[in-house]
Every structure is written in structure tokens, then in C-alpha cells.
Symmetry: C2
Subunit: 362 residues, 2 copies
């Protein structure tokens, strides 16, 4: 399956089982620096490198330590220097083979090396496939916070080998499923139900994975194409993320991102229902049951509030949230009151304690 992301410049997204073996033919540049991590390198680096070499490319590879801590300016500098020592020039390419961390870091390297070289993404996690690899956001963290430094830099193409999902732990797969569910909420009601399909698993049939990932990519690509630099509509992709970022910060990132977003989505469903919008709280609770997140951090609303107030969507003091008038109809509400937010937070506590936020055995 091939999709097109209509950014400027536009690019293709290839979603196929075994597509890592077609990598050589998908890349025009003759010199390619592969960036991957210690989890992915033993599994897929050889496959990717062999395909590139068979197509006559000169390749080098850099393996970073798996994990968020690698998204640093120190690694950024080290990768840039490695690329230069390996002889890359303006006509060369950087290829990210891995999850979101690898993609964000390698993408910022590609955006910055000689003020920008060609960039390719081979995402190997569900989260990276449905979210991080689409839209051109690249960057690294600072001690002051995540993703504070970076660039919008679109890849020349994204090659998704859905067979790589087979090596993904079920829990990580479900973390990625949260963003796919979110894309369903934003624009594809049927996609939002797909997580309930019993075959939607890391080793499920290719057709199911291909269909779900393709639809999720389509939704994200449409938002991104309408608003590449996140001035307007693209902010809708932040659905569920205002609370999620606050929960991640307050827990010092001990709460996983997908877990945090699953709580964030339920929170938004409660806010939306209170405003008399479509009631999709049941779907949000189903998601939570499927994701089986770590427990909601035990913080008072007052502790959380300063973190909510740091949200990038806020302007001039008011608190902004993406709500849904209905599934498929997001809106940016800039007038959330503290009373509303506090009530939704208390509701979230009730609901999640009722459903037992301890992770069930799956």
C-alpha cells in the first residue's frame, strides 16, 4: 500500500510486509548514513544495510543507546560529526531505522547537516508508524523539557515494514495503538473501533495491520498537509495530550506516553460530555482497558494545574484544550474554566478507580 503525504514537498509512505528488503530501490542518494538503536540494530540493521548495499549504496551506520535519554544535543553533535567523518555531502541521505527516538534525533541531524540533507524513515514501532514518522517533526530534548529543540523537516519517503512489528512487545504495540485510536476519534469513526478487533496484534494478519496503519497515516497526513508548521488545524492532533503532558511531567516521565494519552483521552471525553457534546466516554474507557496503563499518578488537581498551564497551545493566560463536538469533529476550546477542569479530573479518578487502574494480566 502506498499513500502520499501532501506537504510541500510531498512524499510517499509505503506500508508493506517485507519492505525493508526493497529499501535500496526506494532511495536515490548514493551515500546513506543509517541511524538506529541498540534494540533495533541486532534485529533489522543487517537487512536494511544488505538491501542498500545490493543497490550499490555506500553506507555507514550509527547505533545509539535505545531510550528517550538518547534524544540529546550531545548525541546530535556526535551523529553530525560521524556523518562528516564518513564522507557524507549535501547529496547524501540520513535514514532512521527504529522508533520515535531514532526518528526524531536522526531527523534533526538530517535537517541540520549542511543545512539539510535528504531524510528517510523506516519506523519499526507502531507508535512511530502511525505518529512520529509522519509530519516532519524532528528534535531533541533539553534538561528543561522534551522536544524543545528541533526542526520541521519532511522525509523524502517513509518505508514501513509491518513485519518489524512482530518483534514489538504487546505492551509497546498498545502504546502505539493509543495514537491510532486518537486518529480515529479525529476523523475516522470506524478506525477508533479497530483496537477492539481480536486480530489487531503485533503478529496479526498483514491485511488488518496494513489497513489500520494506512487509515491512521491517512488521518495524520491530512492534518499535517493542511498545516505543516502547526499554526492551526494541526493542533487538533494534540487531542488528549494536554493532560498527558502534565501527567508525564508530574510523574517525571515514569508514566509512559501512551498510558498518559489514554488517560488524557478519557479526560477529554469527560470534558466534552459535560459540555453536552457527543458522549464517547465508553469508547475512551474501552481504550483504557485495552491499554491497561500504569496507575494514574496520585496528584491533586492543584499540583497538576501549573503543568497544564505550560501547554504550548495556551495563549495569553487562558487554558486551551482540544475537545470533540462529536467523533470526527474536533475543536480548539480556549475557554476551559478551572471548575470544569477540576471536575473532569475528579471524574477521571472515579472512573479509573472503578475500572481498577492497576494493570490487569493480559
Amino acid at each position: 500500500m502506498k499513500l502520499r503525504v501532501e506537504t510541500s514537498p510531498s512524499y510517499d509512505v509505503l506500508i508493506e510486509p517485507g519492505s525493508l528488503e526493497q529499501l535500496g530501490g526506494a532511495i536515490g542518494e548514493s551515500r546513506v548514513a543509517i541511524v538506529t538503536d541498540t534494540n533495533v540494530a541486532p534485529l533489522y540493521l543487517k537487512r536494511a544495510a544488505d538491501s542498500l548495499r545490493a543497490a550499490g549504496k555506500t553506507i555507514s551506520s550509527q547505533v545509539i543507546v535505545a531510550g528517550e535519554a538518547s534524544k540529546s544535543l550531545a548525541n546530535f553533535q556526535q551523529l553530525l560529526q560521524a556523518c562528516i567523518l564518513e564522507g557524507l555531502d549535501r547529496g547524501s541521505a540520513v535514514l532512521a531505522l527504529g522508533g520515535g527516538v531514532v526518528g526524531d534525533l536522526a531527523g534533526f541531524v538530517a535537517a541540520s547537516l549542511f543545512r539539510g540533507v535528504a531524510f528517510y524513515q523506516c519506523p519499526t514501532s507502531l507508535l512511530a508508524m502511525v505518529d512520529a514518522s509522519i509530519g516532519g517533526k524532528t528534535g531533541v530534548n533539553l534538561p528543561e523539557g522534551k522536544n524543545l529543540v528541533g526542526a520541521f523537516w519532511q522525509p523524502k519517503s517513509v518505508i514501513m515494514d509491518i513485519e518489524t512489528l512482530r518483534s514489538l512487545p504487546e505492551r509497546e504495540f498498545r502504546q502505539g495503538g493509543v495514537e491510532l485510536f486518537k486518529h480515529g476519534l479525529l476523523a475516522d469513526r470506524q478506525l477508533a473501533t479497530s483496537i477492539a478487533h481480536p486480530d489487531f496484534t503485533p503478529d496479526g494478519p498483514s491485511e488488518i495491520l496494513q489497513n489500520c496503519i494506512g487509515r491512521s497515516v491517512t488521518v495524520k497526513a491530512e492534518f499535517v498537509a493542511r498545516d505543516t508548521r502547526e499554526q492551526g488545524a494541526r493542533a487538533h492532533l494534540n487531542l488528549g495530550h494536554s493532560l498527558a503532558h502534565a501527567l508525564e511531567a508530574v510523574s517525571h516521565h515514569r508514566l509512559a506516553h501512551g498510558d498518559a494519552v489514554s488517560y488524557g483521552l478519557l479526560f477529554v471525553s469527560l470534558l466534552s460530555r459535560e459540555r453536552g457534546f457527543e458522549d464517547w466516554t465508553a469508547a475512551a474507557r474501552d481504550l483504557l482497558a485495552w491499554v491497561a496503563p500504569d496507575p494514574l499518578p496520585t496528584h491533586s488537581f492543584e499540583t497538576l494545574l501549573p503543568y497544564l498551564q505550560r501547554d504550548k497551545k495556551n495563549r495569553g493566560g487562558g487554558l486551551a484544550f482540544i475537545l470533540l463536538e462529536a467523533i470526527g469533529r474536533p475543536l480548539l476550546a480556549r475557554d476551559l474554566s478551572l471548575v470544569e477542569l477540576k471536575k473532569a479530573w475528579e471524574n477521571l479518578w472515579e472512573v479509573t478507580h472503578g475500572t481498577d487502574p492497576q494493570r490487569p494480566q493480559s
Copy 2:
């Protein structure tokens, strides 16, 4: 005088005496981080800050050590962190007050902070006015070389207070004059003769400076607008720079950039004449006499060649140079032979030794 640079997005260039005092009105954002250096801060920081404060802006300022060594990733990180600690958000602005080093570094900070915030340039050297502040090239150096990391990031506007040139040493003024002369060669024959005007000095009449700088900016802006990301026509701005970069590298950057380009331009005039193109070697020699560069590094052509071969314009082994068929008619020649280049280098030696490359008393 107000000029427009038709990049996407486009922006204004204001060239006026005293325009630093109008800074507050030229900037829309309410929070502004000023980046300047130890040379410029004592002279103009207060004037800029006062104007911004009078317009109700919240400002902060970061002063880097003057000089090329400050264009480092270490300073990049430090400035980013300072901006965050000062409370900048996506709606804030970064303002570069100074020469090319400040502009390149602050521009890369603006391009990367939150994946890009508004950027303003107040160039205070002639070189920064006619060259570095126009075109959106930003970046820092690596131990492996200059400007290897960066972004294309256009300013929202460029405010040139030509009164700031009065504090510029004559020698630095003439370094900037080299690029102005180059712009004349590329597209404005009369501009190329302006360096000969006795009033073209740091403290000359505003009208002369305004006219010359305006014409130089016009030439550069046209090349940049035709080719923002340097895929084609913009490479013509590299006139004289192939040899210049080699001379800088071989001298470990002891030879100043303007000096190196003045030699580079004479070198190109000799190459062009050998090919039977318009003979403008006399103009190039006049430039050299005006600039009074440090002596040409005493290296054999064979020592220089590897540095010429590293030029970013080269593709697939051939050596590329920008030549002039005539003043105003640049072309990219990809077929320079080693024999041609060696002969021009030997000619350059003869010519510069004939005119005595030791700096005369001015």
C-alpha cells in the same frame, strides 16, 4: 529605504540611519531575546533594548564572546537554555544584534527553539548588512569545519542602522566591501565601481552608504529569492569563494574571509580571461589594492588542491567554479582542468607579488 526580499515568506529590509531607535515598532512579538556580542553590547545594546522596552516588550539579552569561535554547538545549547529560562514561548522572537557570527548563531537558535520562532536581524557590520543578514543561512561550526550545521531560516525583517557602521574599523568595513563588490560583479556593474568612491567609508554620507548597501542587498535578495535553498542560481553568490575557502582552510583561518575572497575574485578574473571571457582583471586588482589583504599564503598549487576538491559545489569528481562570461553574467563551470587552475594560481602569485601583497599604510 525599505526593500523586500521575495523569499517564502517574504520580508522587509530597512536601511536607515538611526533605525535602531525604531526597533520597538518593527517587532510584533511581545517577548524578545536579544543575542549580541562583547564588541557590540557596550555600543548598541542599550539603544536597542530601550527602543524595545519603550514599545512595551519584555526583553532579555545574551552576550557572547566576539569572534568566530563562538559559533559553536556549545553556545547554541547555552542560548537555547537561556531563552527557555527567560520564559520565551512559540510566540516570542530572537533578535540578532551584531555581525555575521551573532546572526548565524542566533538565527540557528531561532530556527531550532520550539522548532522555530520569529527571528529579526540588526546587522552592525558592513559584511553582515550586505551578505550574512540576507538569505536565511544560519548555522554553527564543528571541529571538522565551518558552517557544517545549521538551517535555512528567514528573518521576519532586517533592520540596518547604518549609523552603527561609524564604529566599524576601516579594515572591517573593507572586508564587507568585498562582498558588495562581488554583488556588483554578479548583477550591477556600477555597484562594482562604488568601492572606488572616496565617500564610501564607515563615516561617509548616509546617502552613499544607503545607496550602495541597498543595491548590494537588492542583488543578493534576487539570487536568494530565485533559489532559497541553494539548489541552483544561488550558487552564483559563491563567486570567488572556492579559492577563498581553500585559502582560509590552508591558513587555518588566519587569513580573513574578505581578504581570501578578494584573492578568490582576482583568481576567477584570471580564469575567466583565459577562457576568452570579458577581462575584468583590472577591477579585481583595484579591489585588492583597496582591501589591502594580508599576504597570499605561500603554498604550492598541489597543497591547495585537496582543499579545492572539498568544495560543496563539486559533484562526482569534477571541479566546479563560478566564472563570469561578463560582468553581470555568471555561470557555473563544472569542467575546470587542473592545468587551467594551476596556471591561474601561478598568475595570481605573479600579479599579487607585482602589486606587493604587504598591506600598505592607509
